[in-house]
Protein backbone atom coordinates (compact mmCIF):
# COMPACT_ATOMS: atom_id res chain seq x y z
CA UNK A 1 0.00 0.00 0.00
CA UNK A 2 1.31 3.36 -1.02
CA UNK A 3 0.82 6.68 0.73
CA UNK A 4 1.63 9.94 -0.98
CA UNK A 5 1.52 13.29 0.78
CA UNK A 6 1.76 16.44 -1.34
CA UNK A 7 2.25 19.89 0.22
CA UNK A 8 -0.12 19.08 3.03
CA UNK A 9 -1.00 22.08 5.22
CA UNK A 10 -3.86 22.00 7.72
CA UNK A 11 -5.75 25.25 7.24
CA UNK A 12 -6.37 26.04 10.95
CA UNK A 13 -2.62 25.55 11.68
CA UNK A 14 -1.42 27.24 8.50
CA UNK A 15 0.47 30.15 10.10
CA UNK A 16 1.98 28.00 12.80
CA UNK A 17 3.07 25.31 10.35
CA UNK A 18 4.60 27.64 7.77
CA UNK A 19 6.53 29.54 10.45
CA UNK A 20 8.87 26.61 11.17
CA UNK A 21 10.66 23.76 9.47
CA UNK A 22 8.71 20.46 9.31
CA UNK A 23 9.56 17.07 7.81
CA UNK A 24 5.96 16.51 6.74
CA UNK A 25 3.91 19.72 6.46
CA UNK A 26 4.18 21.36 3.03
CA UNK A 27 6.48 18.60 1.79
CA UNK A 28 6.14 15.89 -0.82
CA UNK A 29 6.46 12.45 0.76
CA UNK A 30 6.06 8.94 -0.54
CA UNK A 31 5.63 6.09 1.94
CA UNK A 32 4.92 2.43 1.29
CA UNK A 33 3.85 -0.58 3.31
CA UNK A 34 5.56 -2.38 4.94
CA UNK A 35 7.47 0.77 6.01
CA UNK A 36 7.50 1.50 9.73
CA UNK A 37 7.36 5.24 10.19
CA UNK A 38 7.78 7.26 13.32
CA UNK A 39 6.60 10.82 13.53
CA UNK A 40 7.94 12.89 16.36
CA UNK A 41 5.54 15.63 17.09
CA UNK A 42 6.02 17.98 20.00
CA UNK A 43 2.83 19.47 21.47
CA UNK A 44 0.98 21.85 19.19
CA UNK A 45 2.64 20.75 15.95
CA UNK A 46 -0.55 19.07 14.67
CA UNK A 47 0.09 15.39 15.39
CA UNK A 48 -3.55 14.43 15.86
CA UNK A 49 -4.53 16.68 12.93
CA UNK A 50 -2.10 14.75 10.72
CA UNK A 51 -3.52 11.35 11.76
CA UNK A 52 -7.07 12.62 11.23
CA UNK A 53 -6.16 14.02 7.81
CA UNK A 54 -4.49 10.76 6.76
CA UNK A 55 -7.49 8.75 7.97
CA UNK A 56 -9.92 11.03 6.13
CA UNK A 57 -11.70 12.31 9.22
CA UNK A 58 -10.61 15.88 8.51
CA UNK A 59 -10.65 17.59 5.16
CA UNK A 60 -9.75 21.13 6.17
CA UNK A 61 -6.31 21.06 4.59
CA UNK A 62 -4.60 22.23 1.45
CA UNK A 63 -2.41 19.88 -0.61
CA UNK A 64 -3.22 16.24 -1.28
CA UNK A 65 -3.20 12.88 0.44
CA UNK A 66 -3.25 9.86 -1.87
CA UNK A 67 -3.70 6.26 -0.77
CA UNK A 68 -2.83 3.86 -3.58
CA UNK A 69 -2.91 6.85 -5.94
CA UNK A 70 -6.48 7.75 -4.99
CA UNK A 71 -6.94 11.25 -3.65
CA UNK A 72 -8.62 11.03 -0.27
CA UNK A 73 -10.52 14.22 -0.93
CA UNK A 74 -12.18 12.69 -3.98
CA UNK A 75 -13.21 9.49 -2.24
CA UNK A 76 -16.96 8.96 -1.81
CA UNK A 77 -18.30 8.02 1.62
CA UNK A 78 -18.54 4.40 0.44
CA UNK A 79 -14.96 4.36 -0.88
CA UNK A 80 -13.75 5.84 2.38
CA UNK A 81 -15.67 3.16 4.30
CA UNK A 82 -14.07 0.42 2.18
CA UNK A 83 -10.59 1.91 2.71
CA UNK A 84 -11.16 2.03 6.48
CA UNK A 85 -12.66 -1.45 6.65
CA UNK A 86 -10.04 -3.26 4.56
CA UNK A 87 -6.81 -1.30 4.15
CA UNK A 88 -6.38 1.33 6.77
CA UNK A 89 -6.70 0.86 10.52
CA UNK A 90 -6.29 3.44 13.24
CA UNK A 91 -5.76 3.84 16.96
CA UNK A 92 -7.11 7.27 17.83
CA UNK A 93 -5.53 9.27 20.61
CA UNK A 94 -8.97 9.84 22.10
CA UNK A 95 -9.69 6.09 21.66
CA UNK A 96 -13.26 6.55 20.38
CA UNK A 97 -15.01 3.56 21.87
CA UNK A 98 -18.76 3.18 22.16
CA UNK A 99 -19.53 4.01 25.80
CA UNK A 100 -22.91 2.26 25.59
CA UNK A 101 -21.37 -1.08 24.58
CA UNK A 102 -19.40 -3.51 26.73
CA UNK A 103 -15.69 -4.08 26.10
CA UNK A 104 -16.47 -7.25 24.14
CA UNK A 105 -19.26 -5.61 22.13
CA UNK A 106 -16.89 -2.78 21.16
CA UNK A 107 -14.68 -5.42 19.57
CA UNK A 108 -17.57 -7.34 18.04
CA UNK A 109 -18.86 -4.24 16.24
CA UNK A 110 -15.63 -4.33 14.29
CA UNK A 111 -15.48 -8.09 14.00
CA UNK A 112 -19.02 -8.27 12.58
CA UNK A 113 -18.03 -5.79 9.86
CA UNK A 114 -14.78 -7.59 8.89
CA UNK A 115 -14.79 -11.05 10.40
CA UNK A 116 -11.12 -11.86 9.74
CA UNK A 117 -10.03 -12.82 13.25
CA UNK A 118 -12.04 -15.40 15.14
CA UNK A 119 -13.57 -14.67 18.50
CA UNK A 120 -11.29 -17.11 20.32
CA UNK A 121 -8.19 -15.23 19.19
CA UNK A 122 -9.72 -11.88 20.13
CA UNK A 123 -10.40 -13.24 23.59
CA UNK A 124 -6.78 -14.39 23.83
CA UNK A 125 -5.61 -10.90 22.90
CA UNK A 126 -7.77 -9.43 25.67
CA UNK A 127 -6.22 -11.82 28.17
CA UNK A 128 -2.76 -11.09 26.84
CA UNK A 129 -3.28 -7.35 27.35
CA UNK A 130 -4.71 -7.95 30.80
CA UNK A 131 -8.31 -6.95 30.12
CA UNK A 132 -9.80 -10.44 29.76
CA UNK A 133 -11.75 -9.97 32.98
CA UNK A 134 -13.28 -6.73 31.67
CA UNK A 135 -15.01 -8.46 28.77
CA UNK A 136 -18.53 -7.67 29.92
CA UNK A 137 -17.80 -4.34 31.56
CA UNK A 138 -19.54 -1.36 29.93
CA UNK A 139 -17.11 0.75 27.87
CA UNK A 140 -17.78 3.84 29.93
CA UNK A 141 -16.65 2.14 33.16
CA UNK A 142 -13.20 1.17 31.81
CA UNK A 143 -10.13 3.14 32.87
CA UNK A 144 -8.17 5.06 30.22
CA UNK A 145 -5.52 2.33 30.24
CA UNK A 146 -8.14 -0.37 29.70
CA UNK A 147 -9.84 1.66 26.99
CA UNK A 148 -6.51 2.15 25.24
CA UNK A 149 -5.80 -1.57 25.22
CA UNK A 150 -9.32 -2.20 23.92
CA UNK A 151 -8.80 0.40 21.15
CA UNK A 152 -5.52 -1.33 20.20
CA UNK A 153 -7.25 -4.72 19.91
CA UNK A 154 -10.12 -3.19 17.90
CA UNK A 155 -7.62 -1.73 15.42
CA UNK A 156 -5.97 -5.14 14.97
CA UNK A 157 -9.20 -7.11 14.35
CA UNK A 158 -9.71 -5.85 10.80
CA UNK A 159 -7.50 -6.61 7.81
CA UNK A 160 -5.17 -3.68 7.07
CA UNK A 161 -2.17 -2.66 5.02
CA UNK A 162 -1.35 0.41 7.07
CA UNK A 163 -1.88 1.03 10.76
CA UNK A 164 -2.06 4.64 11.93
CA UNK A 165 -1.39 5.22 15.63
CA UNK A 166 -1.72 8.42 17.61
CA UNK A 167 0.08 8.11 20.97
CA UNK A 168 -1.13 4.51 21.31
CA UNK A 169 0.57 3.84 24.63
CA UNK A 170 0.01 7.18 26.38
CA UNK A 171 -2.08 5.64 29.16
CA UNK A 172 -0.07 2.43 29.59
CA UNK A 173 2.74 1.54 31.96
CA UNK A 174 6.00 0.14 30.62
CA UNK A 175 5.01 -3.50 31.04
CA UNK A 176 1.68 -3.11 29.32
CA UNK A 177 3.29 -0.95 26.63
CA UNK A 178 5.75 -3.78 25.98
CA UNK A 179 2.96 -6.39 25.70
CA UNK A 180 0.84 -4.15 23.51
CA UNK A 181 3.63 -3.27 21.10
CA UNK A 182 4.57 -6.95 20.78
CA UNK A 183 1.00 -7.78 19.85
CA UNK A 184 0.81 -4.88 17.39
CA UNK A 185 4.10 -5.87 15.74
CA UNK A 186 2.99 -9.50 15.49
CA UNK A 187 -0.26 -8.59 13.75
CA UNK A 188 1.32 -5.92 11.53
CA UNK A 189 3.87 -8.52 10.39
CA UNK A 190 1.17 -11.09 9.88
CA UNK A 191 -0.65 -8.60 7.64
CA UNK A 192 2.62 -7.59 5.95
CA UNK A 193 1.44 -4.09 6.69
CA UNK A 194 3.14 -0.78 7.29
CA UNK A 195 2.70 1.36 10.39
CA UNK A 196 2.82 5.02 11.15
CA UNK A 197 3.11 6.07 14.76
CA UNK A 198 2.88 9.66 15.90
CA UNK A 199 4.14 10.45 19.39
CA UNK A 200 5.41 13.41 21.35
CA UNK A 201 8.95 12.12 21.85
CA UNK A 202 11.49 10.01 20.13
CA UNK A 203 10.75 6.33 20.85
CA UNK A 204 11.82 2.82 19.97
CA UNK A 205 8.47 1.08 20.19
CA UNK A 206 8.97 -0.41 16.72
CA UNK A 207 11.97 -0.97 14.39
CA UNK A 208 11.29 2.14 12.32
CA UNK A 209 12.55 2.52 8.78
CA UNK A 210 11.93 6.25 8.69
CA UNK A 211 11.55 8.96 11.27
CA UNK A 212 10.12 12.38 10.59
CA UNK A 213 9.72 15.44 12.74
CA UNK A 214 6.45 17.21 12.37
Amino acid sequence: MHLQIEQLIPIPLQENVLARESGIWNKALSLSAPDYISIQAPSGTGKTTLIHCLYGVRTDYSGNILWQGKNLRQCSAEELATLRAKDLSVIFQDLRLFPELTAWENLMVKQQLTPGIDEKEIEDWMKRLGIGHKKNAPGKTLSYGEQQRLAIIRALIQPFQFLLMDEPFSHLDQRNTQIARELILEIVQRNKAGLLLADLDQNDFFPYHKTYTL
Binding site: Y55, V57, A77, E78, A81, T82, R84, A85, K86, R96, F98, E100, L101, E105, M108, V109, K110, Q112, L113, T114, E119, K120, E123, R154, Q158
Partner: protein
Protein backbone atom coordinates in the same frame (compact mmCIF):
# COMPACT_ATOMS: atom_id res chain seq x y z
CA UNK B 1 -16.76 -20.91 22.47
CA UNK B 2 -20.41 -20.25 21.83
CA UNK B 3 -20.82 -16.51 21.69
CA UNK B 4 -24.31 -15.43 20.81
CA UNK B 5 -23.99 -12.73 18.17
CA UNK B 6 -25.80 -9.71 19.53
CA UNK B 7 -27.43 -7.16 17.23
CA UNK B 8 -24.97 -4.41 18.10
CA UNK B 9 -26.18 -1.97 15.44
CA UNK B 10 -29.60 -2.21 17.03
CA UNK B 11 -28.08 -1.38 20.40
CA UNK B 12 -26.16 1.56 18.97
CA UNK B 13 -28.71 3.04 16.57
CA UNK B 14 -32.10 2.12 17.95
CA UNK B 15 -31.40 2.04 21.70
CA UNK B 16 -32.68 5.59 21.87
CA UNK B 17 -35.95 4.70 20.20
CA UNK B 18 -38.47 5.23 22.98
CA UNK B 19 -41.05 2.47 22.87
CA UNK B 20 -43.92 4.82 23.76
CA UNK B 21 -42.97 7.20 20.98
CA UNK B 22 -42.58 4.38 18.51
CA UNK B 23 -46.06 3.19 19.44
CA UNK B 24 -47.49 6.70 18.98
CA UNK B 25 -45.77 7.06 15.61
CA UNK B 26 -47.02 3.60 14.59
CA UNK B 27 -50.59 4.47 15.62
CA UNK B 28 -50.42 7.76 13.68
CA UNK B 29 -49.17 5.95 10.59
CA UNK B 30 -51.70 3.14 10.98
CA UNK B 31 -54.56 5.62 11.41
CA UNK B 32 -53.50 7.51 8.29
CA UNK B 33 -53.21 4.29 6.30
CA UNK B 34 -56.57 3.00 7.57
CA UNK B 35 -58.35 6.21 6.62
CA UNK B 36 -56.74 6.26 3.22
CA UNK B 37 -57.71 2.65 2.51
CA UNK B 38 -61.21 3.23 3.88
CA UNK B 39 -61.75 6.26 1.69
CA UNK B 40 -60.56 4.30 -1.34
CA UNK B 41 -62.85 1.47 -0.27
CA UNK B 42 -65.84 3.81 0.13
CA UNK B 43 -65.10 5.45 -3.21
CA UNK B 44 -64.70 2.07 -4.90
CA UNK B 45 -67.89 0.66 -3.32
CA UNK B 46 -69.91 3.70 -4.41
CA UNK B 47 -68.35 3.48 -7.83
CA UNK B 48 -69.53 -0.12 -8.12
CA UNK B 49 -73.00 0.77 -6.85
CA UNK B 50 -73.36 3.85 -9.04
CA UNK B 51 -71.99 2.33 -12.21
CA UNK B 52 -74.41 -0.50 -11.71
CA UNK B 53 -72.25 -3.53 -12.30
CA UNK B 54 -74.26 -5.20 -9.60
CA UNK B 55 -77.58 -6.75 -10.45
CA UNK B 56 -79.50 -4.34 -8.27
CA UNK B 57 -78.21 -0.86 -8.83
CA UNK B 58 -81.19 0.92 -7.35
CA UNK B 59 -78.92 3.55 -5.82
CA UNK B 60 -78.67 6.38 -8.31
CA UNK B 61 -78.73 4.38 -11.46
CA UNK B 62 -77.33 6.18 -14.45
CA UNK B 63 -80.02 4.65 -16.64
CA UNK B 64 -83.09 6.77 -17.28
CA UNK B 65 -86.21 6.08 -19.25
CA UNK B 66 -87.07 9.12 -21.30
CA UNK B 67 -90.37 9.85 -23.03
CA UNK B 68 -92.22 12.86 -24.37
CA UNK B 69 -94.43 14.80 -21.99
CA UNK B 70 -98.17 14.47 -22.48
CA UNK B 71 -99.61 17.95 -22.38
CA UNK B 72 -103.21 19.17 -22.67
CA UNK B 73 -102.45 20.20 -26.22
CA UNK B 74 -100.98 16.85 -27.25
CA UNK B 75 -103.64 14.70 -25.60
CA UNK B 76 -105.75 14.46 -28.74
CA UNK B 77 -102.91 13.29 -30.96
CA UNK B 78 -102.15 9.62 -30.30
CA UNK B 79 -98.85 9.85 -32.09
CA UNK B 80 -97.62 12.93 -30.21
CA UNK B 81 -95.53 10.86 -27.83
CA UNK B 82 -93.89 8.83 -30.55
CA UNK B 83 -90.11 9.15 -30.71
CA UNK B 84 -88.87 9.59 -34.26
CA UNK B 85 -85.46 8.81 -35.72
CA UNK B 86 -84.59 12.50 -35.57
CA UNK B 87 -85.61 12.65 -31.89
CA UNK B 88 -83.46 9.63 -31.20
CA UNK B 89 -80.46 11.21 -32.88
CA UNK B 90 -81.01 14.37 -30.87
CA UNK B 91 -81.09 12.45 -27.58
CA UNK B 92 -78.00 10.52 -28.61
CA UNK B 93 -76.12 13.81 -29.02
CA UNK B 94 -77.41 15.34 -25.77
CA UNK B 95 -74.89 16.20 -23.05
CA UNK B 96 -73.86 13.33 -20.71
CA UNK B 97 -75.63 10.72 -22.86
CA UNK B 98 -73.47 7.67 -23.38
CA UNK B 99 -75.92 5.25 -24.92
CA UNK B 100 -79.54 5.18 -26.04
CA UNK B 101 -81.76 2.16 -26.53
CA UNK B 102 -85.35 1.86 -27.73
CA UNK B 103 -87.96 0.42 -25.44
CA UNK B 104 -90.00 -1.42 -28.06
CA UNK B 105 -93.64 -1.96 -27.05
CA UNK B 106 -95.81 -4.84 -28.17
CA UNK B 107 -97.98 -3.27 -30.83
CA UNK B 108 -100.71 -5.87 -30.37
CA UNK B 109 -103.23 -7.00 -27.81
CA UNK B 110 -101.87 -9.08 -24.91
CA UNK B 111 -103.90 -10.73 -22.18
CA UNK B 112 -102.60 -12.63 -19.17
CA UNK B 113 -104.63 -15.34 -17.48
CA UNK B 114 -104.04 -17.68 -14.60
CA UNK B 115 -106.04 -20.68 -13.45
CA UNK B 116 -109.52 -21.61 -14.50
CA UNK B 117 -113.06 -21.59 -13.14
CA UNK B 118 -113.75 -19.58 -9.98
CA UNK B 119 -110.09 -19.06 -9.08
CA UNK B 120 -109.27 -17.65 -12.50
CA UNK B 121 -107.54 -14.36 -13.08
CA UNK B 122 -107.54 -12.39 -16.32
CA UNK B 123 -106.10 -9.05 -17.31
CA UNK B 124 -105.05 -7.14 -20.36
CA UNK B 125 -101.37 -6.46 -20.32
CA UNK B 126 -98.66 -4.59 -22.11
CA UNK B 127 -95.21 -5.90 -23.01
CA UNK B 128 -91.99 -4.09 -23.77
CA UNK B 129 -88.45 -5.08 -24.75
CA UNK B 130 -85.16 -3.34 -24.08
CA UNK B 131 -81.82 -4.08 -25.72
CA UNK B 132 -79.89 -6.60 -23.64
CA UNK B 133 -77.09 -4.15 -22.82
CA UNK B 134 -79.58 -2.04 -20.85
CA UNK B 135 -80.88 -4.88 -18.73
CA UNK B 136 -79.93 -4.98 -15.05
CA UNK B 137 -81.26 -8.53 -14.81
CA UNK B 138 -80.16 -11.12 -17.31
CA UNK B 139 -81.30 -14.56 -16.21
CA UNK B 140 -79.81 -17.49 -18.12
CA UNK B 141 -83.25 -18.26 -19.50
CA UNK B 142 -83.49 -14.76 -21.04
CA UNK B 143 -83.92 -15.81 -24.65
CA UNK B 144 -86.73 -16.59 -27.02
CA UNK B 145 -86.70 -18.10 -30.48
CA UNK B 146 -89.54 -18.64 -32.87
CA UNK B 147 -91.24 -21.87 -31.89
CA UNK B 148 -90.50 -21.53 -28.16
CA UNK B 149 -93.69 -21.92 -26.16
CA UNK B 150 -92.42 -20.28 -22.99
CA UNK B 151 -91.68 -16.58 -22.76
CA UNK B 152 -89.42 -15.32 -19.98
CA UNK B 153 -90.59 -12.13 -18.31
CA UNK B 154 -88.85 -9.56 -16.18
CA UNK B 155 -91.18 -7.55 -14.08
CA UNK B 156 -90.54 -4.17 -12.55
CA UNK B 157 -89.98 -4.60 -8.84
CA UNK B 158 -92.19 -1.54 -8.37
CA UNK B 159 -95.18 -3.48 -9.70
CA UNK B 160 -94.74 -6.25 -7.17
CA UNK B 161 -94.30 -3.70 -4.40
CA UNK B 162 -97.47 -1.91 -5.45
CA UNK B 163 -99.32 -5.21 -5.43
CA UNK B 164 -97.99 -6.31 -2.05
CA UNK B 165 -98.22 -3.01 -0.22
CA UNK B 166 -101.24 -1.34 -1.78
CA UNK B 167 -103.39 -3.63 -3.87
CA UNK B 168 -103.33 -6.93 -2.02
CA UNK B 169 -104.09 -5.58 1.50
CA UNK B 170 -106.96 -3.44 0.21
CA UNK B 171 -108.50 -6.30 -1.76
CA UNK B 172 -107.90 -9.02 0.78
CA UNK B 173 -105.58 -10.88 -1.57
CA UNK B 174 -102.59 -12.98 -0.46
CA UNK B 175 -99.12 -11.35 -0.47
CA UNK B 176 -96.64 -12.67 -3.01
CA UNK B 177 -92.90 -13.06 -2.49
CA UNK B 178 -90.50 -12.75 -5.43
CA UNK B 179 -89.89 -16.48 -5.23
CA UNK B 180 -93.59 -17.31 -5.32
CA UNK B 181 -94.15 -15.03 -8.33
CA UNK B 182 -91.26 -16.76 -10.11
CA UNK B 183 -92.86 -20.12 -9.34
CA UNK B 184 -96.19 -19.09 -10.90
CA UNK B 185 -96.61 -19.83 -14.56
CA UNK B 186 -99.40 -18.06 -16.42
CA UNK B 187 -100.79 -17.89 -19.89
CA UNK B 188 -100.28 -15.03 -22.29
CA UNK B 189 -102.75 -14.65 -25.11
CA UNK B 190 -101.40 -12.72 -28.07
CA UNK B 191 -103.42 -10.98 -30.76
CA UNK B 192 -107.10 -11.12 -31.59
CA UNK B 193 -109.36 -13.23 -33.74
CA UNK B 194 -108.25 -16.30 -35.65
CA UNK B 195 -104.54 -15.54 -35.43
CA UNK B 196 -104.66 -15.56 -31.65
CA UNK B 197 -102.00 -17.65 -29.90
CA UNK B 198 -101.35 -18.75 -26.33
CA UNK B 199 -97.92 -18.90 -24.73
CA UNK B 200 -96.72 -19.94 -21.31
CA UNK B 201 -95.05 -17.10 -19.44
CA UNK B 202 -92.68 -17.30 -16.52
CA UNK B 203 -91.38 -14.41 -14.41
CA UNK B 204 -87.61 -14.84 -14.33
CA UNK B 205 -86.55 -11.72 -12.46
CA UNK B 206 -87.33 -8.26 -11.19
CA UNK B 207 -85.89 -5.04 -12.50
CA UNK B 208 -85.14 -1.88 -10.61
CA UNK B 209 -84.03 -0.11 -13.73
CA UNK B 210 -86.96 -0.30 -16.10
CA UNK B 211 -90.58 0.13 -14.97
CA UNK B 212 -92.23 -2.26 -17.36
CA UNK B 213 -93.16 -5.82 -18.19
CA UNK B 214 -90.14 -6.91 -20.19
CA UNK B 215 -89.82 -9.79 -22.63
CA UNK B 216 -86.88 -10.64 -24.90
CA UNK B 217 -86.42 -8.29 -27.87
CA UNK B 218 -86.65 -11.27 -30.24
CA UNK B 219 -90.19 -12.01 -29.05
CA UNK B 220 -91.39 -8.40 -29.43
CA UNK B 221 -89.90 -8.23 -32.92
CA UNK B 222 -91.61 -11.51 -33.84
CA UNK B 223 -94.93 -10.53 -32.22
CA UNK B 224 -95.06 -7.14 -33.88
CA UNK B 225 -94.77 -8.85 -37.24
CA UNK B 226 -97.06 -11.75 -36.44
CA UNK B 227 -99.90 -10.21 -34.38
CA UNK B 228 -99.86 -6.45 -34.95
CA UNK B 229 -102.26 -4.78 -37.32
CA UNK B 230 -99.56 -2.42 -38.47
CA UNK B 231 -96.13 -4.02 -38.33
CA UNK B 232 -93.97 -1.08 -37.32
CA UNK B 233 -93.70 -0.58 -33.60
CA UNK B 234 -94.41 2.92 -32.32
CA UNK B 235 -91.66 3.67 -29.88
CA UNK B 236 -92.57 6.16 -27.18
CA UNK B 237 -89.92 5.49 -24.59
CA UNK B 238 -86.17 5.20 -24.78
CA UNK B 239 -83.71 4.09 -22.17
CA UNK B 240 -80.70 6.37 -21.84
CA UNK B 241 -77.39 5.74 -20.14
CA UNK B 242 -76.07 9.02 -18.78
CA UNK B 243 -72.82 9.91 -17.06
CA UNK B 244 -74.29 12.36 -14.60
CA UNK B 245 -78.08 12.69 -14.76
CA UNK B 246 -77.98 15.69 -12.42
CA UNK B 247 -75.82 17.55 -14.91
CA UNK B 248 -77.43 20.93 -15.52
CA UNK B 249 -77.01 20.85 -19.30
CA UNK B 250 -78.66 17.44 -19.47
CA UNK B 251 -81.57 18.52 -17.28
CA UNK B 252 -81.96 21.69 -19.39
CA UNK B 253 -81.96 19.56 -22.54
CA UNK B 254 -84.80 17.44 -21.18
CA UNK B 255 -86.81 20.51 -20.19
CA UNK B 256 -86.27 22.33 -23.47
CA UNK B 257 -87.36 19.37 -25.56
CA UNK B 258 -90.23 18.55 -23.22
CA UNK B 259 -88.96 15.15 -22.32
CA UNK B 260 -89.98 13.56 -19.12
CA UNK B 261 -88.11 10.97 -17.13
CA UNK B 262 -88.33 9.01 -13.92
CA UNK B 263 -87.59 11.85 -11.55
CA UNK B 264 -86.83 9.47 -8.71
CA UNK B 265 -83.67 8.52 -10.48
CA UNK B 266 -82.75 12.17 -10.80
CA UNK B 267 -83.15 12.47 -7.07
CA UNK B 268 -80.76 9.56 -6.65
CA UNK B 269 -78.41 11.26 -9.01
CA UNK B 270 -78.33 14.23 -6.67
CA UNK B 271 -77.48 11.79 -3.94
CA UNK B 272 -74.72 10.53 -6.18
CA UNK B 273 -73.28 14.04 -6.34
CA UNK B 274 -73.50 14.30 -2.57
CA UNK B 275 -71.81 10.92 -2.23
CA UNK B 276 -69.07 11.99 -4.62
CA UNK B 277 -68.46 15.18 -2.67
CA UNK B 278 -68.44 13.26 0.61
CA UNK B 279 -66.09 10.55 -0.63
CA UNK B 280 -63.91 13.21 -2.25
CA UNK B 281 -63.73 15.11 1.03
CA UNK B 282 -63.00 11.87 2.91
CA UNK B 283 -60.25 11.16 0.39
CA UNK B 284 -58.72 14.59 0.85
CA UNK B 285 -58.91 14.22 4.63
CA UNK B 286 -57.41 10.73 4.39
CA UNK B 287 -54.53 12.02 2.26
CA UNK B 288 -53.93 14.76 4.81
CA UNK B 289 -53.98 12.22 7.64
CA UNK B 290 -51.69 9.73 5.95
CA UNK B 291 -49.40 12.70 5.26
CA UNK B 292 -49.43 13.59 8.95
CA UNK B 293 -49.03 9.93 9.92
CA UNK B 294 -46.03 9.57 7.59
CA UNK B 295 -44.58 12.82 8.91
CA UNK B 296 -44.89 11.69 12.53
CA UNK B 297 -43.24 8.36 11.66
CA UNK B 298 -40.42 10.01 9.69
CA UNK B 299 -39.87 12.54 12.49
CA UNK B 300 -39.62 9.65 14.92
CA UNK B 301 -36.93 8.06 12.73
CA UNK B 302 -35.07 11.35 12.44
CA UNK B 303 -35.26 11.98 16.17
CA UNK B 304 -34.00 8.49 16.95
CA UNK B 305 -31.14 8.94 14.51
CA UNK B 306 -30.30 12.38 15.88
CA UNK B 307 -30.01 10.81 19.33
CA UNK B 308 -27.70 8.15 17.91
CA UNK B 309 -25.64 10.68 15.95
CA UNK B 310 -22.43 10.07 17.93
CA UNK B 311 -22.71 6.33 17.38
CA UNK B 312 -23.43 6.84 13.67
CA UNK B 313 -20.35 9.06 13.29
CA UNK B 314 -18.12 6.56 15.08
CA UNK B 315 -19.51 3.63 13.08
CA UNK B 316 -18.68 5.49 9.88
CA UNK B 317 -15.18 6.19 11.25
CA UNK B 318 -14.46 2.56 12.00
CA UNK B 319 -15.39 1.49 8.49
CA UNK B 320 -19.15 1.03 8.32
CA UNK B 321 -20.39 2.36 4.97
CA UNK B 322 -23.42 4.64 4.75
CA UNK B 323 -25.11 2.03 2.56
CA UNK B 324 -24.58 -0.72 5.15
CA UNK B 325 -26.09 1.47 7.86
CA UNK B 326 -28.96 2.75 5.77
CA UNK B 327 -29.93 -0.70 4.53
CA UNK B 328 -29.78 -1.97 8.13
CA UNK B 329 -32.09 0.84 9.28
CA UNK B 330 -34.39 0.46 6.28
CA UNK B 331 -34.67 -3.25 7.12
CA UNK B 332 -35.65 -2.30 10.68
CA UNK B 333 -38.17 0.42 9.86
CA UNK B 334 -39.83 -0.95 6.71
CA UNK B 335 -41.39 -3.96 8.52
CA UNK B 336 -42.76 -1.56 11.17
CA UNK B 337 -44.30 0.57 8.41
CA UNK B 338 -45.60 -2.55 6.64
CA UNK B 339 -47.14 -3.84 9.87
CA UNK B 340 -49.07 -0.54 10.20
CA UNK B 341 -50.22 -0.89 6.60
CA UNK B 342 -51.21 -4.54 7.11
CA UNK B 343 -53.25 -3.72 10.19
CA UNK B 344 -54.89 -0.91 8.18
CA UNK B 345 -55.69 -3.39 5.41
CA UNK B 346 -57.11 -5.82 7.93
CA UNK B 347 -59.33 -3.10 9.44
CA UNK B 348 -60.45 -2.05 5.94
CA UNK B 349 -61.19 -5.68 5.02
CA UNK B 350 -63.22 -6.26 8.17
CA UNK B 351 -65.18 -3.04 7.65
CA UNK B 352 -65.79 -3.92 4.00
CA UNK B 353 -67.09 -7.32 5.02
CA UNK B 354 -69.39 -5.82 7.67
CA UNK B 355 -70.57 -3.11 5.24
CA UNK B 356 -71.27 -5.74 2.58
CA UNK B 357 -73.41 -7.70 5.06
CA UNK B 358 -75.33 -4.62 6.19
CA UNK B 359 -75.88 -3.36 2.66
CA UNK B 360 -77.02 -6.77 1.46
CA UNK B 361 -79.88 -6.45 3.94
CA UNK B 362 -81.12 -3.37 2.03
CA UNK B 363 -80.62 -4.93 -1.40
CA UNK B 364 -77.33 -3.18 -2.19
CA UNK B 365 -74.46 -5.38 -3.21
CA UNK B 366 -70.80 -4.53 -2.74
CA UNK B 367 -67.88 -6.96 -2.75
CA UNK B 368 -67.24 -8.69 0.58
CA UNK B 369 -63.46 -8.28 0.22
CA UNK B 370 -61.49 -5.13 -0.65
CA UNK B 371 -61.20 -4.65 -4.39
CA UNK B 372 -58.30 -3.92 -6.69
CA UNK B 373 -58.30 -0.19 -5.92
CA UNK B 374 -57.80 -0.81 -2.20
CA UNK B 375 -54.91 -3.21 -2.87
CA UNK B 376 -53.44 -0.77 -5.35
CA UNK B 377 -53.72 2.07 -2.81
CA UNK B 378 -52.06 -0.14 -0.17
CA UNK B 379 -49.26 -1.08 -2.60
CA UNK B 380 -48.73 2.51 -3.64
CA UNK B 381 -48.71 3.65 0.00
CA UNK B 382 -46.11 0.99 0.81
CA UNK B 383 -43.91 2.18 -2.06
CA UNK B 384 -44.25 5.88 -1.23
CA UNK B 385 -43.74 5.34 2.52
CA UNK B 386 -40.79 3.00 1.88
CA UNK B 387 -39.20 5.58 -0.36
CA UNK B 388 -39.78 8.34 2.21
CA UNK B 389 -38.27 6.25 4.99
CA UNK B 390 -35.23 5.41 2.88
CA UNK B 391 -34.73 9.05 1.91
CA UNK B 392 -35.08 10.22 5.52
CA UNK B 393 -32.52 7.65 6.71
CA UNK B 394 -30.03 8.53 3.98
CA UNK B 395 -30.41 12.22 4.72
CA UNK B 396 -29.92 11.64 8.42
CA UNK B 397 -26.77 9.58 7.72
CA UNK B 398 -25.32 12.34 5.56
CA UNK B 399 -25.92 15.08 8.11
Amino acid sequence: MSQKRPDLLNKLLLRNARKGRLLSAWIALCTGCTLLLLSVMIWSAFRDLLNGKGSQDSLGSTFLTVSKQVSDASMADKNSTQISGADLEQIRKAPQVQDVGLLTPANFKVAASLGSGQMSFYTLLFLEAAPDRFMDQMPQTWKWEEGDQTIPIILSRDFLNMYNYIFAPSQGLPLLSEQSVKALGFTLTMGEGPGQMNYRAQVEGFSDRISSVLVPQSFIDYGNKRFAASGAAKVSRVIVKVGDPSNKEFVTFLEQHQYTTNSEQLRFSKMRSVVEVVSGATGALALLLIGIGALVFILFIELTMARAQAAVRLLLQIGYGPKTLSSYLVRKYIPIMLSALLVALLIAAILQFVAAQKLAAIQLQIAAVPGLFVWAAAGLSALVLGWQIRTAIRKALRS
